[in-house]
């Protein structure tokens, strides 16, 4: 019986584990990336490959140690490097002597056959087509539940009375959703989780800043790669709104583009009319949209040497000036330390808070 694994991206692994088990596979759930994951990844990856490749390399190696022999992952159509990574990972793993199978999902819009073939290859339990569709639907619902609960935690964390409460409740809530299996159960778990988060004692008087986070999808979605930036910001009294969640991204990249995706593109057009791969254009578009919605600041997260984000980073100062919104960029790699990042975040939020207070005061005088 083959043992299947897949890349870890935030909490989404709970969904993929359920889906793959439903299709009759034995699953090795990828562990949370640790120092060791990184060390392994760095040792076998090209030096200047971007951070996500190295983390994934390490994750795969750890999963192989745990007995996995098949990797399910996504491809891409470029021009961002990520589209070639599955191929490179496979070649490197073979080169160091691991004979594993790689199942790469390309965007079904461009390669429908590839999608069908891969699903059939993973369908070990010989589930009927209708069965597969219902399994996917249920998994999708679970993914939405996970995203919704995470969004809620971003709202409550900066307002909690005792720090650490939200993270504790959130972790518990994740387990509830993890345990839920049928659609009604998932919905019930989601409702309970949202309720529990809402019931955390909050301080209504606190001045909460609103900061948007844009950037490359992997470092955005995997807290281990961005040193839990959302939690750090939440504890600094900042409500975070992330521009990207896995459900949103999947919708934009599988069948049709959503209206949200189109708005982002449109917003970015005056500054960057071209798709530069990855999420460079989205970073610019979302910054503009957030500025229009009155956010206090933006943070751009990108892996070191990420090409699309460098293009975006070059243009962002101009956007920042035109829309009067401060932007802070982090280029992340295996050398980035949590203390340095916290210091910069503290300074940034300090500036934002002062700017906000100053604006409030001038409004009082004039108004």
């Amino acid at each position: 019986m083959p043992k299947v694994t897949f890349p870890r991206m935030g909490e989404s692994w709970r969904t993929f584990k359920m889906l793959l088990e439903d299709l009759g596979n034995e699953v090795v759930a990828p562990p949370r990336p640790s120092k060791r994951t990184l060390d392994l990844g760095v040792r076998y990856s090209p030096e200047f490959a971007c951070f996500p490749l190295k983390i994934l390399m390490g994750t795969y190696l750890e999963c192989i140690e745990m007995g996995a022999d098949t990797i399910v992952t996504t491809g891409g159509v470029g021009p961002c490097r990520a589209g070639e990574y599955a191929m490179l990972h496979h070649k490197i793993l073979k080169d160091i002597g691991h004979d594993i199978k790689m199942i790469v999902f390309e965007p079904p819009r461009h390669y429908p056959l590839n999608f069908i073939r891969n699903v059939l290859a993973l369908n070990k339990a010989r589930v009927s087509i209708r069965g597969i569709i219902s399994h996917i639907k249920r998994a999708w619902r679970k993914l939405q539940a996970l995203d919704n609960v995470e969004k809620m935690s971003h709202v409550t964390r900066p307002r909690e009375l005792t720090s650490g409460n939200t993270s504790r409740v959130y972790r518990k809530a994740l387990e509830w959703i993890d345990q839920a299996y049928t659609t009604p159960q998932i919905m019930e778990a989601e409702a309970a989780a949202l309720e529990a988060l809402k019931n955390i004692p909050q301080d209504p008087q606190r001045m909460v800043l609103k900061v948007g986070i844009v950037g490359e999808i992997y470092v955005l979605l995997e807290p281990a790669s961005n040193l839990e930036i959302e939690e750090t910001l939440g504890n600094l009294g900042v409500e975070v709104e992330r521009s990207m969640f896995l459900t949103g991204w999947t919708r934009d990249n599988t069948w049709n583009e959503t209206t949200e995706g189109m708005t982002v593109k449109e917003a970015a057009a005056p500054y960057l009319p071209e798709l530069v791969g990855g999420h460079g254009r989205d970073s610019i578009g979302n910054t503009i949209l957030c500025a229009k919605r009155g956010f206090d600041g933006m943070i751009q997260l990108a892996p070191f040497t990420c090409i699309p984000e460098i293009v975006a980073r070059t243009i962002l100062p101009r956007v920042s000036r035109d829309y009067d919104i401060p932007v802070l960029t982090f280029f992340l790699d295996e050398q980035t330390g949590k203390a340095g990042m916290s210091t910069r975040l503290e300074a940034f939020t300090d500036l934002l808070r002062r700017k906000k207070l100053l604006q409030a005061r001038t409004n009082c005088v004039t108004g």
């Binding site: 090209p46 030096e47 200047f48 490959a49 971007c50 491809g75 159509v77 470029g78 021009p79 961002c80 490097r81 589209g83 070639e84 191929m87 490179l88 496979h90 070649k91 490197i92 080169d95 790469v104 500054y271 960057l272 009319p273 071209e274 798709l275 530069v276 791969g277 990855g278 460079g280 070191f304 040497t305 990420c306 090409i307 699309p308 460098i310 293009v311 980073r313 070059t314 243009i315 100062p317 101009r318 956007v319 280029f331």
Partner: protein, 333 residues
């Protein structure tokens, strides 16, 4: 007063400048180019560009800074795809926007989009649009385009014969020079130099790599010297997927072709610090080189700090190593 169009001497300059120059000249437009890289240009670029950008892009910034005040327009086409298969690096795709929004007082940029995936005549249409912007009649634009394509063919033929871009450009411009381009190959060594045209042919940023090798009596082959048909025959180089980027794809194919042909004595890969596509390409070439252990392989990394002495030492060592190895093998036979 004639219109002046500026063409920065970096990136696509090394592949298309003769064509662009002809096109603009035919329309009665004066072309101003920043020409070869100097220390000053590099310093200016390093100062203006984002620190995380790669050297070729920084260099492009420098070239733009050098000519932006002398011209009415800057010509920075958004070249997306020219062969219906591979695209250029994301930094090429965003280049006009990067320049426009991060340098102060840039003249208007002619940033026509060229993407042959949109249709057979996409490139012609792009040139017609340039003509329209410059206010030239359609017929003369078409004629200028045809003439420019002719020049490009001649230029590419010269490159394939082993001329360096600078020599070929000089030749096309003045119908003179050239001749002594073939290093006379004293030692009988033949090296492949892989890398992107804007890195290996820029003698300043590559620290004169090709000329140095020729001085040591080494014959140099680059991807531009190989006939495109031979490269196309390499298919996907036994990978499940082709590399997305035009230059990387070409370099990998050239590597594959040269390794398999087994007529070269060494392979050098010149890469720029922080180059995104190269992080993959280098690993793929390295793994290919492992299969051909009789052909030594070395990676040279350049950035804005690269010094002449360090480069010379490494090159000399590599050439010596390959030469001794070859002599030893010859003796054993």
């Amino acid at each position: 007063m004639t219109i002046k169009v500026g063409i920065p001497g970096a990136l696509l300059y090394y592949l298309y400048y003769p064509m662009w120059r002809t096109f603009f000249n035919e329309l009665g437009v004066q072309v101003v180019t920043s020409g070869r890289t100097t220390k000053n240009i590099l310093d200016q670029g390093t100062r203006e560009a984002l620190a995380d950008a790669c050297v070729p892009v920084k260099l492009f910034y420098g070239h733009v800074m050098d000519i932006k005040d002398k011209v009415d327009y800057l010509y920075i086409p958004r070249v997306v795809c020219l062969n219906r298969r591979t695209v250029y690096c994301p930094k090429f795709l965003g280049l006009p926007d990067m320049i426009r929004y991060s340098i102060k007082n840039v003249p208007p940029i002619i940033d026509v989009r060229m993407d042959t995936r949109q249709g057979r005549f996409a490139v012609v249409k792009a040139y017609l649009e340039i003509g329209k912007r410059l206010g030239a009649p359609i017929l003369s634009v078409l004629l200028a385009y045809l003439k420019a394509v002719g020049v490009l063919h001649r230029y590419n033929r010269l490159l394939r014969k082993g001329w360096s871009p600078v020599q070929a450009m000089d030749f096309l411009e003045n119908q003179a020079g050239g001749a002594d381009f073939d290093g006379s190959a004293k030692s009988g060594l033949k090296f492949a130099v892989l890398g992107y045209p804007y890195a290996i042919y820029d003698s300043f940023i590559s620290v004169n790599l090709i000329d140095k090798l020729r001085k040591y009596g080494v014959k140099v082959i680059t991807a531009e010297n190989i006939h495109p048909a031979l490269l196309a025959l390499q298919k996907n180089c036994s990978l499940p997927k082709r590399l997305f980027w035009t230059f990387s794809d070409r370099a990998l194919k050239a590597a594959h072709f040269l390794f398999n042909q087994n007529k070269i004595d060494g392979v050098l890969h010149l890469t720029a610090f922080g180059c995104g596509p190269d992080s993959l390409l280098n690993k793929l070439i390295e793994m290919e080189a492992k299969k051909h252990s009789d052909i030594p392989f070395m990676t040279l990394m350049i950035d804005e700090q690269t010094g002449e002495a360090g480069m010379t030492t490494r090159l000399e060592a590599f050439v010596d190593m390959v030469r001794r190895r070859k002599e030893a093998l010859a003796c054993r036979k």
